[in-house]
C-alpha cells in the first residue's frame, strides 16, 4: 500500500508539472499567440467585438499569479476553454469526440501488438538460436527504424490507393449513420484495419525483444531446471514457469513505452485522417488553435499518467514481492 501511495504522489506531482508547463510555455515564448490568433480578424472587427472575443478566449491582463490560480481552477473543473477552429464548441467537447476513436484504435492495436510480440518473444527465447531467434530481432530492428508515420504512408499507398483493398481515410464511410447496426460496425472495422496494422507492425518488435531478453534470464533460473528435472511437459515449463515470471518486468516497460507508442499512433491517425486525438492535434496546429493544442496536451499527458498508475496497481496485484517489500 505504501508503495502505491508513493507512486500516486509521484503521478500527482507529474500531473501538476504538466498542467503548469501548459500554462508557462505559452507565456515564456517570444511569439504572441493572441496576435497570431486574432490576426485574421484585424481591421474587420470593431474594438468592442475584439474585447468580447478576448474575454471569450480567456486572454486577460491580470497579474500572472492570479491568472495561474484561475487557470488551475478551470483545469480542475475540466473546463479547457473555447476552441478557435471549432468555434463556438468547447475544447472539452471537441476532445471528447476524438478520444473515443483514439482509445478504440490505439487500445486495440497496442493490446494486439503486445500479445503478439510477447508470444513471439517467448518462442524466440525458448528456441534460442532457432530460425525465429535468428530472423526476428534484426528484421524488427530494421522495421522499427522506419518512421512510424512513414510505414503508415507506405501501407496506405500499397493497400489503400494501389490495390484498393482498404478505405483510405476516416473512421467509417460518410454514407453510414453511426448506429449499432451491422453496416456501421463493419464500416468501422474495415477502416481500422490498416491504421491498426501500422501500429502493430511498428511496435511488435520492441515487445518481442523485451520479452525475449527477460525470458532468457528466467530460463537460466534454478526453478526452471528443476521443473524440467521433474519431467513436466515442455509446454507447461515454458508458459507456467518461465513466461509467467518473465512477464512481470515486461509489464513495467509496457507502462514506460506507452507514451512513445501513443505518440506514434497519433501520427498514424494523421496519415489515415482518422478522427482521433492525433488528427485533432494536426488540425489545431494548422489553424493555430492554441486552446485546443493546450487541451490536447493536457488530456493526452494526464491519460498516460493515469495508464501508468493502472500499470503500477496491476504490478502490485500480480507480484507478491512488491506487496511485501512495501509492507516492510
Amino acid at each position: 500500500m505504501r508503495y502505491l501511495i508513493r507512486r500516486l504522489a509521484f503521478y500527482l506531482v507529474a500531473a501538476w508539472a504538466s498542467v503548469t508547463l501548459a500554462f508557462v510555455i505559452p507565456r515564456l515564448m517570444p511569439g504572441d499567440p493572441e496576435a497570431t490568433m486574432f490576426a485574421r480578424f484585424h481591421g474587420k472587427l470593431d474594438p468592442e467585438a475584439m474585447a468580447a472575443l478576448r474575454r471569450t478566449f480567456g486572454f486577460s491582463d491580470a497579474p500572472l499569479a492570479q491568472q495561474y490560480v484561475c487557470y488551475l481552477g478551470h483545469v480542475v473543473r475540466g473546463d479547457l476553454g473555447v476552441s478557435v477552429s471549432y468555434f463556438p464548441a468547447r475544447v472539452g467537447d471537441v476532445i471528447a469526440t476524438g478520444m473515443v476513436w483514439t482509445l478504440f484504435l490505439a487500445g486495440l492495436a497496442v493490446a494486439l501488438s503486445y500479445a503478439l510480440g510477447t508470444l513471439l518473444g517467448i518462442a524466440a527465447a525458448w528456441r534460442r538460436g532457432g530460425w525465429l531467434d535468428a530472423v526476428g530481432p534484426p528484421l524488427f530492428v530494421l522495421l522499427g527504424a522506419f518512421p512510424f508515420f512513414w510505414l503508415a504512408m507506405l501501407l496506405l499507398f500499397l493497400f489503400g490507393f494501389t490495390l484498393g483493398w482498404s478505405p483510405v481515410r476516416h473512421a467509417y464511410d460518410s454514407g453510414v449513420t453511426p448506429a449499432l447496426s451491422a453496416q456501421f460496425l463493419w464500416s468501422v472495422a474495415t477502416h481500422a484495419v490498416l491504421p491498426a496494422a501500422t501500429i502493430v507492425v511498428a511496435t511488435v518488435g520492441g515487445w518481442m525483444l523485451d520479452m525475449r531478453n527477460t525470458m532468457m534470464t528466467v530460463l537460466g533460473e534454478d526453478y526452471v531446471t528443476l521443473a524440467h528435472a521433474k519431467g513436466l511437459s515442455p509446454r507447461r515449463v515454458m508458459f507456467r514457469y518461465a513466461a509467467r515470471n518473465a512477464l512481470l518486468p515486461s509489464i513495467t516497460s509496457f507502462g514506460m513505452a506507452l507514451g512513445f507508442v501513443l505518440s506514434g499512433s497519433l501520427l498514424t491517425e494523421i496519415v489515415f485522417s482518422y478522427p482521433g486525438q492525433g488528427y485533432l492535434l494536426i488540425q489545431a496546429v494548422r489553424s493555430l488553435d492554441y486552446p485546443l493544442i493546450q487541451g490536447l496536451f493536457l488530456t493526452i499527458t494526464l491519460a498516460v499518467l493515469g495508464a501508468n498508475f493502472l500499470v503500477d496497481i496491476l504490478y502490485v496485484w500480480l507480484d507478491p514481492r512488491a506487496r511485501t517489500r512495501s509492507a516492510s
Binding site: I25, G129, V141, A145, F149, W150, L156, S263, L288, V304
Partner: protein, 299 residues
Amino acid sequence: MTALMHNRRALIGLGVLAGFALLAMFGPLFAADPSAQLALPLSPPSWQHPFGTTGQGQDVLAQTLAGARTSLVIGFTVGLAQVAIGALVGTTAGYLGGWVDDVGTLVINIFLIMPGLPLMVIIAAYLPTGSITIALVLIVTGWAWSARVIRAQTLSLRDKDFVLAATVSGEHGLRIVACELIPNMASLLASAFIGATIYAIGAEVALEFLGLGDVSHVTWGTNLYWASNDSALLTGAWWTFVPTGACVALVGFALAMLNSAIDELGNPRLRAERGYLAELRRHGVRPGVSTPVLRREVS
C-alpha cells in the same frame, strides 16, 4: 576501438554511416538545386531525375541529399547535447546523493513519463519555426533518457574502490566526476549518444512532417511534409516519399547496429553467449534445455 573494428555489426553500422556522411557532405555539390523547379511536377524516375520529381517539379534526389545534410546535422547535434545535459544532471544527482538526487530523480522521471509528441508540439507551436527551434524542442524533451542511465551508472561506480581512493586522497568532487567517473562510462555514454541520435532523427522527421518546422527549408521531414501535402499518395507518386523514408530507416538501422555492437563489447555475458552458440552450431547441436556435452579433439 580495435575490438570494434573486428565486429561485423559495428562495421556494417559504421560503413553505412560513413556513406551517408560523405553523401551529405559532397552530394549537394553535384546534385541539382533542391528547391528549383526543374521539370514537370510529379514525373516518375527517369535518367535525368533518377528519383523523379516532387509535386513542385523539384528533383527528389537533390532534395534527399540536401535533406540528409540538415537532418544528420540536427540529429547528431541534438544527440550530443542530450548526452551532455544527461551527463551533467545524471552525475550530479548520482554523485551528490541526498536531496539533490531526490529532486534530480523526480525531474528525470517526470520528463520520462510525459508523452513526447504532445510536449514537442506544444513547445514548437509557440516558437518561431526553424531548425534551431526543432533542435531545442528535441533536447528539452529527450535528455531525461540519457540522464537516467548515467545516474544509475554513477550510483554503481560511486562506491568503487578507485573512487573512494580519489576521495581519500582529497580530490575535488568536480575532478572525481570529470576524471574518474566519466572516463569509466565511455561505452555507456557512446550508446546513450547513439540512442539519443536515433531518437532525435526520428522525432525531427515527425515534427517537420507535421509542418512544425520551417517548410521552406529542405530536410527529410519537410520532404515528407510536402509529399503528403501535394497528395503524392493519391496520384501514385511513391518516389516522393520512399527515398526519404528509406534513408531515415537506413541511418536508424546503422546506428542500432553500432549500438548493439558496443553493448556486446561492454557486456562480456553477451559475448560469451555468442561464442557458445557459434560453438554449438559448429557441432550441429541445437541449443535446448539441457547443457550439451561437446567432444573436442585433443591435439
